[in-house]
Every structure is written in C-alpha cells, then in structure tokens.
Symmetry: C2
Subunit: 350 residues, 2 copies
Amino acid sequence: MSKTSVKQTYASAGVDITLAAQAKKRIARLAKKTTRPEVLSGIGPFGALFEFKGYRKPVLVSSVDSVGTKTRIATALGKYDTVGIDIVNHCINDIFTCGAEPLFFLDYIGIRMAVPERVEALVTGLTQACRDAGCVLIGGETAQLPGIYHKDDYDLVGFVIGVVAKDKIITGKDITIGDMVIGLPSNGLHTNGYSLARKVLGETRAKLNVRSRELGTTIGEALLRPHLSYYRQLQPLLPSIKGLAHITGGGIVGNVPRSLPEGLAVQLDSKQWAVPPIFTLIQKKGKIDLREMYQTFNMGIGMVVICAPEKVGRIVKAVSGAKVVGEVVKQKGRARVIIDNRGYRKDKVA
Amino acid sequence: MSKTSVKQTYASAGVDITLAAQAKKRIARLAKKTTRPEVLSGIGPFGALFEFKGYRKPVLVSSVDSVGTKTRIATALGKYDTVGIDIVNHCINDIFTCGAEPLFFLDYIGIRMAVPERVEALVTGLTQACRDAGCVLIGGETAQLPGIYHKDDYDLVGFVIGVVAKDKIITGKDITIGDMVIGLPSNGLHTNGYSLARKVLGETRAKLNVRSRELGTTIGEALLRPHLSYYRQLQPLLPSIKGLAHITGGGIVGNVPRSLPEGLAVQLDSKQWAVPPIFTLIQKKGKIDLREMYQTFNMGIGMVVICAPEKVGRIVKAVSGAKVVGEVVKQKGRARVIIDNRGYRKDKVA
C-alpha cells in the first residue's frame, strides 16, 4: 500500500483527542476544589460564568503572563506540579499592585501531546495557588499543537481577573519624596530571567541535579522554587500602602518606576537586603555585569512596597522578611532607580 | 578569549528586551484604537483596569483559546495580520453562546523573538476584530521564549471577558423536541483541524501557493480565511434564540450536544447546507472517513442556532447564509447528533 493511500485521521496527524478528553476530566475534578459561590458553571461549556455582585464601584483588573522557560527546568527534572503555582502567583501579584482581589483564573497549556498525568500535575499547582488566594480556576484550554511544541516542551499561560473599588485603586499618585521603600523577599528567580539562567547554569537533568554548597540545595531545586504570592500578607495592609511594584521581567530597575509618579526616583541601599545565593552563582558563572543582573533578575526582592515613614513599622512587622531598602527621592537626570549611588534607567530595560 | 570567559547578557541568551520594548510601543498604539470609556488605563501597568458599571444582574463570562497551528500557515505565507482576527472571533463566539456581550480581550504571544513588524501585524488583526465587536484590547503579553518556540513559530492565545444579565443567559434549557436547528455558514476551517489539514495538504509555501480549481483560490488563501464572528448579526436576535453552539474542535458532533438538555438530540440533513470545497479537498486527498471529518472540522457550519419553529423566519432572514439544517428530536441510544440518519456520539470526540 503506497503512503498516499493511507487513511488519515486527526490522531494520525498527532492530535489525540482521547488523551485530551482524559486530561480534561482530571482538570475538571481538580478545578472544582477551587470553586466559589459566584460560579454558575465550571469548566465544560463554551464560556465560564461568574456572578458578579456585592462590589462597590467595581473596577475589573486583568493580567496575562506565562511561566516562560522555567517550564524547561520543570521538564528536565520531571517535576510538573510547581509551575502552576508560579503562574497563578505571578498573575495575582500583578493585579494586586492595583489593590485588586483576585476573583478567577483561566489557564492555557500549549503542548505537543496532553499526557494526562503531566497535565494533571500542572493543574495541581494551579489549583493549589488558586485556593491559597481564594481565586477560582474557572476555565482553561489545553491545546495539543504538534508542529509548534516539540518533545516535552510546553507553554503555561495564565489569565487572572480581579476587582478593586474605584476609590481604592493603588495608583502610586500619593507617593512623595521621603516615602519609604520596603522590599519583600523573593525566594529565587520567581518567573523571570530563565533564558539567561539556563544558558549560564545549564538545563540538563545532570547539571540541575548538582548539589551546590553555596545554595544548600541542588541547582534545580533552587531554580524551581515557586514564585511567592504577596497577596494574603499584604492585603490587610492596603490602607497603609501608597505604591506597589511586582518585580518581574526587567528587575527592580524596570518595575519600580511603573509605580512612581513622574519626577520621582527611588534610592536603594543593597546592603539592606539579602541577595539569594542563586543570583550570586548565576552572576559569577556567567560573568554577568551587576547592571545586567539588576535589569534581568529580581535580585532577592519580589515586591516593592512604598509607604509613608510612619507606616513602615506596621508593614515590616506584619510581613515576614520585609525590610526597608531605600527611600523616594527627587529624580535627577534620567535614572529613576539608584542602587548604591549608581543610576539605572528604565528606558534601557523592557 | 575562551568561551567561558565571555560575559553573558540577557540578549546573548536570546532574549532581546530592546525588541520587546519596540514591539510593545507598536502594540500600545494599535490597542488604543479599541478603547472604551470604561478603560481606566491601557496597556503598560501591571494590570489592565476596566470600570464595571451599569449592568443589571451581571454575570461575567470568560473564555480562553489559541489559534492553534493555523499560525504555521500564516508563517509559511508570511501573512501575519489575519490570525489575530481568528483568535478574537473564536473567543467572542465562544462567550456569545451564553448570550454574552464581549467587554475586553487580552492576548498572549509566545514567540522566539519579537520581530516588531510581525508582532505589529498580529496585533493589527486583534484590534480589527476587537473594534468590530466593540471589545477593547485591554492588555497582553509578548513572551520571548527561545528554547520553547523555534524558528518563526509562535503561539497566539486569546482571553475574553464578557457580560450577560443572569436572567438572559442562554443555557439551552428551554430547547424541546420539534425546535429547529439553523446552521450559520463558516468560510473554511476557522480555527480547528489544522494539524490534520496541514498533514494532508502540506504546509510549505510552495504547496500553499498552489491554485486549486475546486477552491477558486490558492490552498493557502482558503486555509487562512479568518474565523467569522457571529456576534454582531446574532446579538439583536437573542430573544428569539434558545440555544447556541459554536462549532470548534470536535465539529458539529462534539459541540452541538453542549447546548442541548439531556435526553435530546439533533437530526440534521447535510443536503441543506453547502460544505465548502476546502473540506472536500482535505477529505479526498487524505482519504478521510466522513465520520472523522464531522468529528474534526466544522464542515461548513460555524455556529448552530436552536429556536422554536415560529422564530426561524426572522433568524434566517436576518443572518446571511443562515439555513435550517435539521431539528431537535428525542435522543435514542447514545448518539446526540444524527446526520443523514447516521448517529454520532459526542463521547467519541474531545
């Protein structure tokens, strides 16, 4: 029988809809654990329904992001149940910078083949972080796209919707000279800079399994640590907070200016916070300029809080590891972030 | 200088943040054209803000999907400005099946390198379809992920939020035996079945540029035709509609049952609608079973509307190409879709 006489099916083209259906069942079972009374229907129909009531002057706040190439570390280590935590916490931190409470989350998994166990592990991470934040995993899509995704690679994308009262939006507009800058500790790279980290440290299972004395863990363990959520700890403190910056792609340099009014800058003293050893290791092994480090990685600060000096005590006491790392100053020149008397310009960053 | 003494940068790891910043500027300019008065801030901050007011008994309806491997056809042809239309219309049709009006949309582009012209073309499609539906492109993310995406491949994911009054949700619960099934014409594959179509028809530029007498166009032109939106045409007819099914992955067989109450099925007569020649070509060239065709492709019907017999005239008159294609019957056995007296089971589909 010649090749052209073979009957084609969707499965023979690499799309196994039976696998997708199996994965879907597992997802539905997990997602149900995150439900809220507002959910009118769960995963399954064409759209997910969330009854929206009881909010005063509501503003919907939304954000989208992906875990990026951190998925490749997870794949190399065969550990799929933490990157879901990463993307949920990343998205929740993002909308929380406006003061928003997360309501619901949708995920997208782009993958070559939806191996049910793997998809289930990914969704386990999603549901864990959603439950921690009281956010419902209301919908999602697992797309099997042979031709786009190769081997065990996949992309994990998250969308979050939250709500904030119009008169409670954190805009940063009240920030003034002399306000204090508080840094909240990250536990590693969170979800940014993995392309560079992978290039420097490697991404084979063997390299990731190397135990490092500086780290006290394997390199893989340090790289895979899930993105922290600051929502639960900071939410009760919102009335004391003037500005929030989630330190993601672009680092402190790229993100703090997003929360500052024009004409202001922050002056930081790096001795005030601890840089986790994973960053020192990357910097050393990759011979990376400090400037590049600050523009790529969070360098140990996952969220920046800006507040009046008299609020500092309350915030530092309530949030574990929070430390005053600097203050708000008048902007001189083009630098809006000054670290150890060295100026950094946001426009040099993404 | 030995390789290990080369200083590493984020750019040397394949992530060019200057490119990303350029792409971002172009996106912001385009997205602004879709704005609505409710938008409190556009693309740029950590979260996108949409003031939510004036809705009675609001239920938020959300959906997420990707264009799938249709992007590979677009890439092969070097035509990037239509797949954005695909994903927006796909998402809007999905939430419209509940009767929802689209409010805002967020996109995610996963790509190796954010070539500004290409990203701009992708977003041009997004904004065109968003404007057509009165939906704002409120946010998005372009993630440069070398290591996940190779060469010119990318994934384009969309996320839509709409609103419907709780007492106006289309649930399909009023559908009864004897109701009529109206088919709305698709203009091709819309956004599903591309892995199979690519396998059968090929995906090189040369193969896609072959002019086909049956099609009256090139194969590439037929494959790239953008997903139709049924929102504008159907929205004024909502009071006459009992059920809606968006015909996406799984075809008529997989999607119509999602809108039917238990115990009901639809009986369709394929002579009542025209199957676009692209499907016939795929079927013939791939020697694909008719059953597989119906479970994979929309086969010429992009949306199914179910209504009482006395409403048919109004709907068929108002929507171009709409045709009665069958009726609602009592379910006998496990098949919930019967086409030309042949039963199809949804549980055999995704």
